[in-house]
Subunit: 560 residues, 2 copies
């Protein structure tokens, strides 16, 4: 009797449900639904830093996509029964916190706040809290440097407390009406299981640890004295924050009868504690000690794990180091590049080079493929959206260097790909410098699957084979794996994440091997990339250019 779990993957524009066979990870049915609110699910304003989502979309999307995959599975196999679904897992974007009342009801679902963006979910890419992030970073640097040591030295404007504090400062009515702020990674499983109330809510260590400085070493969330210095109301909020945070092998609760009715799933099946898409994506790609999983999309997330029993230094410039954030009993290491596919998309969609026909990704890739490494004389920095790792600085911008009067769009396109590869290598080097050996690299995401040139350049630049995850939906698969683990082996699931991964994940047969001669040239080019990286990205040596990009942004802010 085959058993199944469902992975619910909440992205920026849509939610995807994937129904997975617990035995082998086969994806039986998939359904996606684009959020209704805003522009493709994102509510914008005149402030370019603002990006919100309406929580109603999360609930409606769960119902629609779950029903759709069940229907599709029944269509495919007459033997399939919804009662063979034994668990659910959820992954989401993050940090995407949402203000809720004491019952855990999202404020945005109440009439009073229905159209107030401050009462909605503050999407990961909302940067309205830039000033608050700087304030938190400065305070922590002075009083709690150990907080920052676990998150790359800078607390980001994308993260929980920056957003909460910005709301407190700019929309006090919303802040005062909120009893709590819950990451949607926690809120959605709680909604499915009727555990949104403060006394029942189980939050995941992934979101809490990576975005809200939760660490059991210092007693969970940041202490009240620290938060009081930011604002007394934050200290009051601290009293309502949970004391515990959980790994994905723990259930958030059990599916309510209401949700069972709405979806036709069995009542009471466990829903795993939620986690972020990249972290569960790494699980779905087979992450384990020594394996770097790169999830390459518009940006990248780079995920590794390090056994919790082995010592590990704080790695400067990494986005986060959180025990249990990926798999239990291992420190989850998160790094990333702020833009990868987005840089290629910028060039194709904004610059539109080569006229309409010659400027598609396909055409530029075909032309760029003909070029040899170093042949263009170009080198670029991959900072069009700032630098997440290892500089942790959003106020950095792009750079292209080496143009002549004959430089072609394909040369620039290739230089942009190479820039992202150099950025990837910089992350690998940083991990290894601090003793986290990278024994294999597994890529997933659309670019990894669809653009062999990108993968070959990554192999040539890093000098390492590039492997591709078998699943094209590793995030949802990772969530389904969590669902299989919380279901447990007695129900036909698995007893551990490791066991579930072994059965349910795999690699594609095609491996991109590095070409030694290309790697040699790229090593020379990387030295130049690194020189520019340090000159523009760090203030470490006098005479650098670290001020240039920031001055331009200051001038721009002044004249706009």
């Amino acid at each position: 009797m085959a058993k199944y779990t469902i992975g619910l993957d909440y992205g920026t524009n849509s939610v995807r449900a994937v129904l997975v066979s617990v035995a082998n990870g086969r994806e039986v049915a998939t359904s996606t639904w684009t959020y209704e609110h805003g522009r493709q699910g994102v509510i914008l304003s005149r402030d370019p830093n603002l990006a919100r989502q309406h929580p109603a979309d999360y609930l409606k999307g769960a119902e629609i996509t779950i029903k759709a995959v069940l229907k599709a599975a029944r269509r495919k196999s007459k033997n399939f029964k919804a009662s063979d679904v034994i668990g659910i897992g959820v992954d989401t974007t993050g940090s995407t916190p949402l203000p809720v009342d004491a019952d855990g009801t999202a404020l945005a679902l109440k009439k009073r706040f229905a159209n107030n963006p401050a009462a909605m979910a503050w999407l990961w890419k909302d940067h309205t809290g830039v000033a608050e992030a700087a304030e938190i970073t400065a305070l922590a640097r002075r009083l709690r440097p150990h907080f920052l040591a676990k998150c790359g030295g800078t607390y980001s404007s994308e993260w929980y407390f920056s957003k909460v504090l910005h709301c407190l400062r700019t929309s006090p009515k919303v802040f005062d009406a909120a009893c709590m702020w819950v990451e949607i990674a926690d809120w959605i499983p709680a909604e499915l299981t009727g555990t949104t109330a403060l006394d029942k809510l189980r939050v995941g260590v992934c979101a809490a640890g990576h975005k809200a400085m939760f660490n059991s070493q210092w007693g969970g969330y940041p202490d009240k004295r620290f938060l009081r210095k930011l604002d007394p109301k934050l200290a009051e909020l601290r009293d309502r924050l949970p004391a515990e945070a959980y790994t994905i092998d723990k259930p958030a609760g059990r599916l309510t009868s209401d949700w069972a009715k709405r979806t036709a799933l069995p009542v009471g099946i466990p829903v795993a504690v939620g986690a972020f898409d990249a972290h569960l994506g790494a699980v779905g790609a087979g992450v384990g000690p020594g394996t770097l999983v790169k999830i390459i999309g518009t940006s990248t997330c780079d995920i590794m794990v390090h056994p919790a029993r082995k010592p590990l230094a704080d790695i400067p410039g990494l986005c986060g180091q959180v025990e249990g954030s990926v798999i239990p009993a291992a420190i989850g290491l998160e790094a990333g590049q702020s833009a990868v596919g987005d840089i290629f998309n910028w060039f194709v969609n904004y610059i539109q080079p080569g006229g309409k026909t010659a400027g598609s990704h396909e055409a530029l890739t075909a032309e760029a493929k003909k070029l040899k490494p170093g042949e263009s004389g170009l080198v670029a920095l991959d900072w069009n959206n700032g630098n997440r790792t290892i500089l942790v600085d959003q106020r950095l911008t792009g750079l292209i260097l080496g143009q002549t009067l004959y430089t072609t769009p394909a040369e620039i396109y290739r230089a942009l790909i190479e820039a992202t590869a150099f950025g990837a290598l910089t992350i690998i080097n940083r991990l290894e410098e601090y003793g986290v050996k990278v024994r294999q690299v597994v890529n997933c995401g659309g670019i990894a699957e669809k653009n062999p040139l990108v993968m070959q350049i990554y192999a040539d630049v890093t000098g390492r084979p590039m492997k591709i995850s078998r699943s094209g939906q590793t995030c949802a698969l990772g969530a389904a794996i969590a669902g299989a683990v919380v279901a447990g082996s007695r129900a036909g699931g698995w007893s551990s994440v490791r066991a579930a991964q072994k059965a349910m994940t795999g690699l594609k047969s095609r491996v991109f091997e590095p070409n030694p001669s290309a790697h040699k040239i790229y090593s020379e080019l990387y030295a130049l990339y690194r020189q520019l990286h340090d000159a523009f990205g760090t203030g470490e040596w006098s005479g650098g250019c670290h001020n240039v990009m920031k001055r331009l942004l200051e001038i721009r802010a002044k004249v706009r």
Copy 2:
């Protein structure tokens, strides 16, 4: 009785004749003819550094265009008679030297060498002599530093001796067959006047001084001992080089009866000593002490004069300082930017941004005009074709910095315009640092006339009014002015260049005044431009990035 002179302007792709009224500079008739040989007059090869011209084109072009302007003038006015033409002036590209035999016959016109590119004119932009230029520079730096002090510290691959020495090394048969190498600025007037033979040839101080290190202070051309160290055959050539070099107010000779027959011009009218297009262009734009003339085309030439009686230091980084090279009794100062219009053309023609319709110069200019200074957050370097002044370094390349995921083609286009304006300001600043006060800036060339946005940005960046020359053909007008001066006042011409300029040149009424608030922002942006300029362009401070562009070019040369 109105008198006329003809200016012959030899460009890269075509020759233009302009028939000008001596009284007021009015351009009565114009004719252009595109050279027949090669690709639009330029003979190319697989070596991208090679660019030659066939001298037959110069002679045929003179005949065709002179006949055409006389015909057009007769059509316009029944009173016009060819006998009212009292003189001719010639300007050409340069350094464009040509090997000739003892009679001054171009080797390329002989059957034996008819198809040998080495026997043709080595066009200004021929860079085959890069290695020889480096050799000459190194030798001069060691033994004759004063040679380099007058030409910006580096002897260019574009210049006379680099080309002659390269021919000696790579095409010894041509070199051995040549008695002399003559700049086309000297050879064309000599052909018109039958003075090509070594004992009759009069060379201009413009070409000799700016491109062949001729200086009366050290006895004319470089001394034999110096040239012998480069090659003994160069020392032998030195014996055949003329002892004198002349200013444009001196005749090269008088029109031969053969040329009078071919053109219907009066026999015996004087032809002025030739000079380069930029220098005569400055004359045609009204250059005099305190006036900077900018000739803005694909690249720019910036010309000033400094009274010979007033002391002047050697100005580092200037292309040349040569007494009499522009007007008599004044030191001609030549600076320039290696690419201006060419950078905009690169973006439009190679990158083709915005699809076919949105990417024209007109469309990008219209969009770029809507932007405020500093609004794009971009800054660029104008080095896609190297830097002629003040760094004198062809091994520099372009740089664009500050891109985000939303940067538009118009923002980049404007940043490229601004980069060339910053380059222009850098030249002005260098001149003033060395005591050459710039009291007014007169622009000419297609971009100055046709793109008000460029002129406004130049005004805003430099904080100076931008004036435009009245004539759209200042080079040919300058040549016609030289023709009027060698004709002399008795024949109805003028007694001096100054007097002729006063009568024959002028400015347009529209002046681009700097906007103070834009200038303030641009002063901040210029500080960043200058920081990048020094970081990438000079090795003056440790920790700079001066190696980056050169290393990329080395790697590129290696892999190609």
